[in-house]
Homo-oligomer: 228 residues x 2
Amino acid sequence: MPLPARAVRAAPDGHGAAGLRVADALRTAILDGEFAPGERIRQEVLARRYGASRVPVREALRMLEAEGLVTLVANTGAWVSRISLAECEEMYQIRERIEPLLLRFNLPLLSDGDVAELARLAEAMEATDDVEEFLALDRAFHLSCYDLAPTSVLGDLVLQLWNRTQHYRRAFTRVFRAEGERSVHHEHHLLVAAIRRRDADEAERVLSGHIRRTRLELARHPEVFADD
Amino acid sequence: MPLPARAVRAAPDGHGAAGLRVADALRTAILDGEFAPGERIRQEVLARRYGASRVPVREALRMLEAEGLVTLVANTGAWVSRISLAECEEMYQIRERIEPLLLRFNLPLLSDGDVAELARLAEAMEATDDVEEFLALDRAFHLSCYDLAPTSVLGDLVLQLWNRTQHYRRAFTRVFRAEGERSVHHEHHLLVAAIRRRDADEAERVLSGHIRRTRLELARHPEVFADD
DNA sequence: CTAGACCGGATTGCATCCAATCACAAGAGG
DNA sequence: CCTCTTGTGATTGGATGCAATCCGGTCTAG
């Protein structure tokens, strides 16, 4: 039975990669906020923008639909996915249960240097006033706790949940900063401390509580999910 | 901002549904064991088999790739996904954490009639000698605990994990039955009892332990994942 | 006899073309 | 004035055809 060992995608560019190129570009655009949730996506526009025909564009849309970033309706079109408060809470509750597990897998693999880097990120997050920078640092802080263990399924899943909520996290961040919310930073420092001691149980508890508290906070701001 | 309210897929057949038709058919075929993991999938063959051109077939392959049922390699082809023991354990560990949550959401929605049906399924499972029937009953037993709550994300995720491990569950079932393993049924009855009392904490505990014990059992049979 | 290069068939990837469908606006009827 | 209908333009969906790539066997050289 074949099935090539190299799970690595053969060529990152060239022939047989147009769909992936478009998908990567569009994903980045959505995560960066260039496209807002609910916004219509036209195949022709993307095709011209990324120099491809509509066929690979449609492939890319299918991929992003599977990731939950795009919503397709047959014979009608594609939209940047919009999620409700209920769905967002659901995703956070899933994260509460699985991110601690992923952290546990990574804990023994994190070097002292990695931990120092985490501490640095937490401090930078506390220092910055820029929303986009905070978002990038927060993402780097959490996801860099996760990318050492070879957990393909769990890693992809967590990344997907982060991506699907990215736009709304941007919105929350603005609100939280306006409210002068500080406990987030406290929790980050507690998490770094637990990781430094390689205390898996405590790290799980802190991380779970961190996500949980964020969820409870965002439930207080349903206006972020308003339909305009 | 548009984005039609009807999230329901417009037409299950007719124009604009060829990709979905092929995807559904191929998914069913894979889950039923018609295609074995590692088996090559040729676009032309599927196109002829399902009366479509290769374009919707490629769309279907992308969808199933996203579900983890198919593995695509650029310029090379498609294979029915094969998972390793490590990946399977990972999926079971994810299930240990999220299926109890999903059960909790559904618990208040289950009627007394639903609970009676669960008990019936558990007994039928205990009675049958046929592997395929056991698989179908087990799937019905667990998934029917989950499909009442409108948890789109969590429900889809759990279903995906069941699908990705379906072939290997079939193989385990054969081994377990050969070994005369009976504790599975005990756990099912405990679960029904906890559900009947609407005892969420106990139900979570039992379900988590059920999945966990299955995972530990399957780790004792790595031969199921042999590459042939 | 083995290892490496090479070539032909098979298969996938993409662009173009045409058909099917839908959204929207204008008009007829109540 | 509102509602339903109808037609048109825009957009998506699918089939075909060609180019790019890969796999397998064969030949050659060492």
